[in-house]
Symmetry: C2
Subunit: 339 residues, 2 copies
Amino acid sequence: MVTVRDVARESGVSISTVSRALAEPERVAPETRDRVVAVANRLGYRPNRAASGLRAGRTGALGLVVPDLENPYFASVTKGVQARARQTGHAVFVVDAGEDPALETELVTGLRSQTDGLVLCSPRAAEADLDAARDAPVVLVNLRHDGIPSVSSDDAHGVVLAVEHLRALGHRRVAYVGGPDRSWSDARRRAGLEAARERYPDVETVTVGSFRPRVEGGRAAADLVVASGATAVLAYNDLVALGLVARLRERGVDVPRDLSVVGFDDTFVATLASPPLTTVRTDLARLGARAVDRLVAALGTRRGAAADADGSPDPMPSPDDVLPVELMVRDSTTLAPTR
Amino acid sequence: MVTVRDVARESGVSISTVSRALAEPERVAPETRDRVVAVANRLGYRPNRAASGLRAGRTGALGLVVPDLENPYFASVTKGVQARARQTGHAVFVVDAGEDPALETELVTGLRSQTDGLVLCSPRAAEADLDAARDAPVVLVNLRHDGIPSVSSDDAHGVVLAVEHLRALGHRRVAYVGGPDRSWSDARRRAGLEAARERYPDVETVTVGSFRPRVEGGRAAADLVVASGATAVLAYNDLVALGLVARLRERGVDVPRDLSVVGFDDTFVATLASPPLTTVRTDLARLGARAVDRLVAALGTRRGAAADADGSPDPMPSPDDVLPVELMVRDSTTLAPTR
DNA sequence: ACGTAGGATGCAAACGTTCGCAACGATGCC
DNA sequence: GGCATCGTTGCGAACGTTTGCATCCTACGT
């Protein structure tokens, strides 16, 4: 292993100068810097992260906790987080909490000691456990909680857009298939439903239970939706929507002729379904990138300047940051059946 | 921050004893150990990874490089890697190389300095670049290369199974839609095709180009497949299969009546397609877990004993480890059209 | 009863880096 | 021309842990 000493000896300077030449180039004479950098490259010097982290008190690592990596939603967010983190010179520990609140808190405490900061995506943990993480730099995604910075999409507005769309198609009775109980996103969607009902009193809404945010959840919900007499249904997310469609098809209920279906998130599965899903879109990679931006900003402006030519981060937003949504109208919604 | 000194002072022993009590419990007297552990818990002591890594020469972190996190295949493998790594006391840096060979090698070199070992999943990098990583502990997934340990699924056999299945259904002309040029998996599938052709000379096979391993790739391939006159098609993976189905449907070609389609990998999208895909299944989480087992084993038996009650790792396999495949027969394949 | 083996613990050095402080030389100003 | 200032560099300590070695004590064997 080639260390800073080797570079120092080889380029005839002290190790302090080497360290500075690489970390704070402006603090060292240009020709010295060039020489040092050249030698460092020639020898293939890679700074030892552990040593630097030990002395400087930062690890250069971020942590990302998601409920389920196999869920395309979180896969996209993870991708965004990871990409932006690389631009800011951080590596990302990714952990999958398996939708398990207990495991989640355990992972968070474990991760805190080996990272500079954490991104908690759609945490399922109890709010009390969240408080425990307060002293560490944390950014929440899809969950707002007290003074902890957060990034989320404007789910409530997404629901309003969806209801608006369905109403324009003549639907007057719309079902909503709810997601995990603990999920803040689900609460936001329900709030949106409430707002829509106020704005469009002629649209009845009916809510069916709380289901796992996966395909099975949608399958389980399908029969309840049919029984509810709704002519359109808004699903917690795209996977649930797909489960709905699959089960409905088995029962001989045609989508969209007999029942219009709206998904949520516009993950890649939305377009490959048949029919392609009408869904509420958010830029998930941007959601993740934004979370990293906020986290890095919170870590102090130390490495902040390192975000050079690459991606220009969005201008820093207010403590609670809400990304816009957009309704993608595809083939799973159509005119309400005339009776 | 509570350090080993605090624990030492509080429990009336030296810091060496604290370190040992936590790391090598058998080397310290039972009552001392219990006392130390109790104090450590009470104070909420968390060992500083950077310091421990610096001194001990290992970081407790593993790296995982995948071409695309949004691809459900890699999402599943990542999940498996992550879960097993946790059991062995490691955290996992996950990086998405975006199907870009150059970025991939760059990431690998960057990751090497901050991890104990790397899992390279379906590397797209040139083999020469792979050689550069040879001195570090590396396990390859879905790529075999010289003496580097690897884990893969028996893709070639999967292809044989698929062809066998199609032949039994009366198909005599089968198309294969190839994946990325650089992909070793693609080469294995082609080898399987060759083997199948030898075993079943009455089945003609025709190969169409090399496509991106995503839905768009399948869409692009669909028309070529139709023109080829094949009555059945084997896709590089499930996403490609779904793209095929979508495009075929648009053209009025019914699946499976007019054309049978077989996917690969049995990712979760296979079941939510309509029709549900017949596909070649591998246990992807196990693939990832296995890769971690091999990597940890290669790191020496240091922490090996820490894999206690939780998951019992598979018995350690030969240098090149091949996982079995299984054909999942669903609704996208049926009897060859009679003409 | 004495010597010794071995278990339990402590001491102190290292790991590779960063950073406060000081030294040095050169430049500019009065 | 001397003194102050500033830019550039080096010295050495510190970060928190692990670990080789020394030390102490207990208990055993002869």
